[in-house]
């Protein structure tokens, strides 16, 4: 199956092209936009079904010479830049997640009123970037697609966002710009040293002890820290998180679904794939600090979420808190931990998407996300309340839902190496319960508010998309093997081996 990944990556662009040829106010623009996200979903499912779980290593490899950088001084030793695509189990999971959530988000975006055409074009462009990020087997491509998401997000936030949208857009741009260029620096150092940007080649090269004469342990540590900083901004690691809160609050719901559901995960993906893949030694050395950072994230986010009065803010900080668990998992750097970290990214992706989908419903029905103004909606909209409650429980790590497995694994991993830090961390799990229940109950429970009486319950579309997400969450929670089987192979790539 050569070229399927290229097809996958390009598939969203089809929608962009079709849309660009349509008049802006055409009735079927929204339909085309949604369909544009269905196509990649189908292709992804195809890839998923074709992916061979029994093999190790990279699959669907595509590799072409792209161009060579040559120096006048030594023209015969070019720096080849290649076009490599390929996926491991890890990236496959992320691809699935992205395709699915983008599709659901495109449904949630149906509420958008003005500039629909432009929105969906950028939206599909964003998906193009995301899919590219997860299926590139080459740092150059990775960076390229990463930047694509940057531009698309900037425009999406800045035009369709909330009241302070431009501020949010710029802080998104600046923080992620810094992150991405730090990444670029690392990429280029590796490139000039090893004359390749192919990820798996680099991974193996860096593992060889011989390679130390190219890159001293000291330099590696610096590179690792740069990488950590770069992806830490994306993840985000406290104190690099303020942009992300702003985006959560300002960006349009559909975009937030993608942002919280997928984009933040690029940080985790990068940390696991490159941080752990390229610099395992350095990761081990800094494990304790990393773990502490993770616990700080966890508690910091939880404590602040505890006192927020605005639902989206609560969820923003809860994202920070949950990403802390990812860091913990990576820091523990044993199979359980890393597996937990991956599970957590996936599960949080689904849960955050579900939560924001429902927040979208809240905004649409009740025109507010202030906890104080909401309440008692379980009387008027029982279905919504049910899903919202379920989402909340999932997010606080209720067994039988995906959140639990990931938290369990991550902490299990942590307790092997650093039980003390771990026992501080578990406090976070209590706090998670506290703030989540506080927020969820504030919306759903309490006296019935007459002004919400004529609000409709979930529409068919909303119901279906929430149901899909929830069932996935529960499926993973009940039968985690669906993830771990796919993941097994990803690990044999020396990721946390």
């Amino acid at each position: 199956m050569g070229g399927i990944l290229t097809i996958l990556i390009l598939s969203p662009l089809l929608g962009v092209i079709v849309l660009s040829l349509m008049p802006a106010n055409h009735s079927s623009v929204k339909m085309i936009g949604v369909f544009g996200t269905v196509l990649p979903l189908i292709v992804t499912i195809g890839v998923f079904s074709l992916y061979d779980r029994t093999l190790s290593g990279i699959q669907f490899m595509e590799s072409y010479q792209w161009f060579e950088l040559m120096t006048a001084i030594s023209p015969n030793e070019p720096y080849p830049v290649t076009y490599d695509l390929g996926i491991t189990g890890l990236s496959l999971l992320f691809l699935m997640l992205s395709a699915l959530i983008t599709f659901l988000a495109s449904l949630a975006a149906l509420r958008i009123q003005e500039g629909v055409k432009g929105f969906y074009m950028l939206f599909l462009l964003l998906e193009f970037g995301i899919l590219g990020v997860f299926s590139s087997e080459n740092l150059f491509l990775f960076f390229l697609f990463f930047e694509v998401t940057l531009v698309a997000m900037f425009l999406l936030i800045g035009k369709w966002g909330g009241f302070e949208r431009e501020k949010a857009a710029f802080s998104f741009l600046v923080y992620n710009g810094i992150g991405s260029i730090l990444l670029l620096i690392v990429i280029i150092v590796l490139f000039v040293e090893f004359r390749t940007m192919n990820i798996s080649e680099l991974t193996s090269l860096l593992q060889e002890s011989a390679s130390y004469e190219f890159l001293s342990g000291n330099t590696r540590m610096w590179l690792f820290l740069l990488l950590l900083l770069g992806f830490g901004t994306k993840l985000p690691i406290v104190p690099l998180h303020t942009w992300m809160v702003r985006v959560h609050i300002e960006a349009p719901i559909a975009v937030v679904m993608i942002h919280a559901g997928v984009l933040l995960k690029i940080g985790a993906y990068g940390l696991i794939r490159f941080g752990a893949g390229f610099f395992p030694e350095q990761l081990k050395e800094t494990a304790v600090i990393l773990a502490i950072l993770g616990v700080i994230n966890l508690l910091y986010g939880a404590f602040i979420a505890l006192v927020q009065t605005e639902l989206r803010a609560v969820l923003a900080y809860s994202s920070i808190s949950h990403m802390g668990i990812v860091i913990i998992g990576v820091a523990s750097f044993n199979t359980a931990g890393l597996q937990g970290a991956v599970f957590q990214t996936i599960s949080h992706g689904l849960i955050a998407a579900l939560l924001f989908l429902l927040v979208g419903v809240i905004v649409d029905r009740f025109q507010t996300t202030k906890l104080a103004d909401l309440g008692g909606v379980a009387s008027q909209t029982p279905l919504f309340a049910g899903f919202f409650l379920a989402a909340g429980l999932a997010s606080l790590g209720l067994p039988g839902m995906s959140g639990f497995i990931s938290e369990f694994l991550a902490f299990l991993g942590l307790f092997e190496a650093m039980p003390v830090i771990g026992s501080v961390g578990v406090i976070g799990l209590i706090l998670t319960a506290v703030y989540m229940l506080r927020a969820v109950l504030a919306v759903t429970f309490g006296e019935r508010k007459p002004q919400f009486d004529k609000q409709k319950d979930l529409s068919a579309v909303e119901l279906v998309s929430s149901a899909i997400l929830l069932s996935l969450i529960i499926w993973i929670g009940v039968y985690p093997a669906v993830l771990s089987n796919t993941l097994q192979m990803a690990r044999t790539l020396g990721i946390g081996g």
Partner: protein, 508 residues
């Protein structure tokens, strides 16, 4: 020297220069004898055809090796060809952009042929192997551009810009010359290859501080041309005062020429020159090379240029000033490979200049187009451009992305190479890389600020910008070029690799 010796020279190697010269002369005569009423725009087409011919000649020269004539004062090597190509294309595009027709009553035909003389000077700079010719070329370019900037006799701003330009330019020239005079004094030669040979001599080693002094004088003097710190401050004023196409010309052609001469003057005479730092070797004391010992100062200047350009650009409201500062910043990026003395230096600088030529010219073209109705183009004039004329906006978007160094544009590849040249050396110049990081992120703010204007804001005027065919042509060429070089950089990379052996610059 005998007359036949004079005839023996391979004059054909100067064909492009001759073409330009003849065109310029012819134009001036035509302009002189053409009746006042006649529309001058035909002259521009004539000039363009001249440039086309010159390019053709240049292409024919591609694969013949180093030619030196006029006893080694004029030298045609790959380096020269590569930069001449850029300058010709740049001038061609500027000419194509034309000058506002409604002003032709005031601006006579001198506009096109002054561009050509300036170009001629630039080409001489690119391929002169002698301080004298080099200096003459430099001045030819400078003088033409002084006049070009002030070509609007009745426009206060233009006058002022021109005056500032000439004063600063004069000082810069004087400083450069002063440095050159010492260079001559140290070696008694004006041919830079002779100088290169003599630079290692003991007498120079004794007076190595003078060598360093000379180097810095020359460098700082030339910094004026490429608007590098500390000689950058004239640029915003002049860019703002001058006509937009001329601004484009200054920011592209004259900058390319500046880099050409700077590269040659740094690389050729000073490669073997002794520096200040002692190196104790088993067999006695020797000195590190001059370039090594001045590198920290080059780094310093590069860093300053990047930061100053990007920082001050943040506060600009006038579009031309904004791009003036942005072009200062880009000059800073271009200094990075020099400062790092990377082996990528020629390729990186050339490619980046090519990309810069396209994207910057394009941007100025758009500014020029916006200038049609309200003469001062501010950032706010971009408001709602997407609604007014989407295609121009898309072109502008491409330029901005490229300038910001976003992938899939030429600017990114260029920046990538520059990063490589900063990090490829041993030890790695992280300071340069980090400065570029800071600069790039700052630049995001003002480039994307224009996106905010173009896409998010509402426009006062709803009418589309009136896009002449020439403008459309320029936009298409530059935008297409930017994207093409971004996606298939190999076009340019293999091209220069196949046709230009930059190393020729070293061997006399």
């Amino acid at each position: 020297m005998e007359i036949n010796q004079l005839l023996d020279y391979q004059w054909s190697s100067m064909m492009p220069e001759f073409t330009i010269l003849l065109t310029a002369v012819a134009l001036s005569l035509v302009d002189l004898f053409m009746p006042k009423k006649r529309n001058r725009s035909v002259i521009i087409w004539f000039a363009l055809s001249g440039i086309a011919v010159a390019i053709v000649f240049l292409i024919f020269q591609f694969d013949d090796g180093v030619v030196t004539i006029l006893n080694q004062t004029y030298r045609l090597d790959s380096f020269a060809k590569a930069f001449k190509l850029l300058m010709l294309i740049g001038t061609g595009l500027v000419l194509l952009l034309g000058i506002k027709t409604n002003d032709l009553d005031e601006v006579k035909g001198e506009y096109p042929y002054l561009l050509l003389t300036g170009l001629l000077g630039g080409m001489m700079m690119a391929s002169s192997a002698d301080l004298i010719t080099l200096f003459v070329g430099l001045e030819l370019l400078s003088l033409s551009s002084y006049i070009l900037v002030g070509i609007r006799k009745k426009n206060k701003l233009a006058n002022e810009a021109a005056f500032k330009y000439i004063v600063n330019g004069g000082i810069a020239t004087a400083i450069t010359l002063f440095g050159m005079s010492y260079l001559f004094g140290l070696t008694g030669e004006t041919n830079i290859y002779e100088i290169q040979a003599l630079m290692g001599s003991d007498i120079v080693t004794e007076n190595r501080y003078i060598a360093v002094f000379a180097f810095l004088m020359i460098f700082v003097g030339l910094a004026f041309k490429i608007t590098a710190a500390p000689f950058h401050m004239w640029a915003p004023d002049v860019y703002q005062g001058a006509e937009t196409p001329i601004t484009a010309y200054l920011s592209v052609v004259s900058k390319i020429a500046g880099f050409a001469i700077m590269l040659r003057l740094i690389m050729v005479p000073f490669v073997f020159a002794p520096g200040t730092g002692k190196v104790i070797t088993p067999d006695g004391v020797s000195y590190e090379t001059l370039l090594v010992s001045v590198r920290p100062y080059l780094v310093l200047l590069a860093v300053l240029t990047i930061l100053i350009g990007n920082l001050i650009a943040l506060k600009q409201v006038n579009a031309k000033r904004l791009f003036a500062y942005s072009s200062i910043a880009h000059a800073g990026y271009l200094l990075v490979p020099l400062a790092a003395l990377s082996e990528l230096v020629f390729d990186a600088v050339w490619f980046y200049l090519a990309a810069y030529l396209l994207m910057n010219l394009g941007a100025f073209a758009v500014i020029d187009a916006l200038g049609e109705e309200n003469n001062e183009v501010t950032v706010a004039s971009f408001a709602g451009l997407f609604k007014r004329s989407p295609y121009v906006t898309i072109a502008m978007t491409i330029y901005l992305l490229s300038l910001a160094g976003i992938p899939l544009t030429a600017g990114f590849i260029g920046k990538f190479e520059i990063f490589m040249s900063a990090l490829g050396t041993e030890p790695k110049r992280f300071i340069l890389a980090l400065t570029m990081l800071a600069g790039t992120v700052l630049s995001y703010i003002y480039y994307f600020g224009l996106f905010v204007q173009m896409y998010f804001r509402k426009a006062e005027v709803k009418t589309p910008v009136l896009a002449s065919n020439r403008l459309v042509a320029v936009l298409t060429i530059t935008a297409a070029g930017t994207v093409l070089l971004g996606i298939f950089p190999s076009i340019a990379l293999t091209f220069i690799h196949d046709h230009f052996q930059f190393l020729e610059i070293f061997n006399p």
